[in-house]
Amino acid sequence: MYPPYKPTLLRSPRKPLIVLPHTLSEVTGPVYGHGDISETDNDLTRQHDGEPLGERITVSGRVIDDNGRAVPNTLIEIWQCNAAGRYRHHVDRHAAPLDPNFSGAGRTLTDGQGRYFFTTIKPGAYPWQNHPNAWRPAHIHFSLFGTAFCQRLVTQMYFPDDPLFPFDPIFNSIPDEKARKRLICKFEMDLTKPEWSLGFRFDIVLRGREGTPFESKR
C-alpha cells in the first residue's frame, strides 16, 4: 500500500504474503513463438498508413535474470500514450488529441541472448485525477513473462531527468531510491540512429527461478 497513490488503499492486502517454495507450477509459464508476433509489432511507428507525430525513439536492451543469465525468446508487451499524452482508451478523458497513426501497443520476443528492440515515439506527460494538479512523468508500460510464473513482471520505464519524478506517487510507490532509478532508461548515442531516432537503453532484470524467494513487503 502507498497512501499517496489513492486506489492502493482499498486494493492492497494487509496480511503478509505466504512464501511459496518453487514447484513445477512456479518454474513454468506460457511460452510464445514467432507465430504470435507480426512484423510491425515492435515498430509502433509503422502500424498505420501514416506516421505518428512525436519524437521518434528506439528502446532496446537485454532481459536477464538475477543470476546474470539471458532470458531468451520471452514475450515483452508494451503500451503507452501518444506524444500529446493521450491513450487510445475509452477511459482516458485528457483534453489532448488522439493520433490516428498511433495505437500505442507493441510486442516482441527477446532473441537468443535476451535482446529486444522497439521503435516508437516518446510518450507525453499527462494529468490524472489522483490529487490536485497530478501529472504522470512520461513512461512506457512493460509486461514480461520470463520463462516462468515466478518471473512475471509488469512495470513502467521512465525517461532520464524527468522533472515530474518527485511529484509522482506511482514512481515513488517504490520505497528504495536505487530501485526507482532502475526503471529509468539511459540515453545512448550508440543506439541513436543518425537522421532517424534517439536511442534509449533499458536492460531488465527478472527474478531467478531457483533459490530462496525474496523477502518482500507487498
Binding site: R11, K15, H89, H141, A148, F149, D176, R218
Partner: protein, 197 residues
C-alpha cells in the same frame, strides 16, 4: 527486494501498477477466456472469477491471468520433463479483464496433479496472477477445488493457516454442473491468501 551480495545490476526490477489502460497492450493473444478449446481431454470447467476491493466492491478494471497443467498434470513447458503427453491445442494460459460487474469467465479443464516437493503430488490447482490499477505488483495466488480429497495432503495448503484456506477454494455453483466460482478479495475481512513466489 533481494538479496544480499547480489551485484546491483542483478537485482530484480521493481513492479509498477498496470494502471487503467492495460487493455491497450495486454489484449493479445486475443482475450483468452478459452484456456482449453473443446476436445481437449479432461473434466470441463467453467470458471467464474470475481475481483473485489477491501470494501467488497467489484473491480471493473482488473486483469486475471491463469496458468495451469493439463489433465495429466503436465505443463506445456520445456522444463516440465515428466514423461506425460502434452496436447498442442492446450497451452494452459488464459488472460481476461474483468467486466463492469468485476467478473471474468474462463473455459478450461480441471488440471491433473503435478509433482510437489514431497512424496505426494500437489492437489489440482491453477496459478493465478491479478493485476489492476492501484495494485502495485502482480498478486499471485492459486485456485484449488473445494471438496477435492487431495487438498488434505497438499503441501502449499499446509503452509496456509487453516482459517484462510477457504480463500483459495473455487466453489461449485449450485444447479450449474461444471461451473465453479472463485472470488479474489484484494483486501478486507475475506482477504485472499497471496503468495510470495
Amino acid at each position: 527486494m533481494k538479496a544480499k551480495g547480489k551485484k546491483p545490476e542483478l537485482i530484480p526490477f521493481p513492479s509498477q501498477t498496470v494502471g487503467p489502460y492495460f487493455q491497450i497492450g495486454l489484449s493479445r493473444p486475443e482475450p483468452t477466456s478459452q484456456i482449453a478449446p473443446p476436445g481437449v481431454p479432461g473434466e470441463r470447467l467453467k470458471l467464474v472469477c470475481s475481483v473485489f476491493d477491501g470494501q467488497g466492491w467489484p473491480l471493473n478494471d482488473a486483469l486475471v491471468e491463469i496458468w495451469q497443467a493439463n489433465a495429466n498434470g503436465k505443463y506445456h513447458h520445456p522444463d516440465d520433463r515428466q514423461k506425460k503427453p502434452v496436447d498442442p491445442a492446450f497451452l494452459g494460459f488464459g488472460r481476461m479483464a474483468t467486466n463492469n460487474e468485476g467478473i471474468c469467465v474462463f473455459e478450461t479443464i480441471k488440471p491433473g496433479r503435478v509433482p510437489g516437493p514431497g512424496k505426494n503430488p500437489q492437489a489440482p490447482h491453477l496459478t493465478v496472477s491479478v493485476f489492476a490499477r492501484g495494485v502495485l505488483k502482480r498478486m499471485a495466488t492459486r485456485i484449488y477445488f473445494a471438496g477435492d480429497a487431495a487438498n488434505e495432503e497438499d503441501f502449499v495448503l499446509a503452509r496456509v493457516p487453516k482459517a484462510r484456506r477457504n480463500t483459495l477454494m473455487a466453489q461449485p455453483v449450485p444447479g450449474e454442473p461444471g461451473t465453479w466460482r472463485f472470488d479474489v478479495h484484494l483486501s478486507g475481512k475475506q482477504e485472499t491468501v497471496f503468495f510470495d513466489v
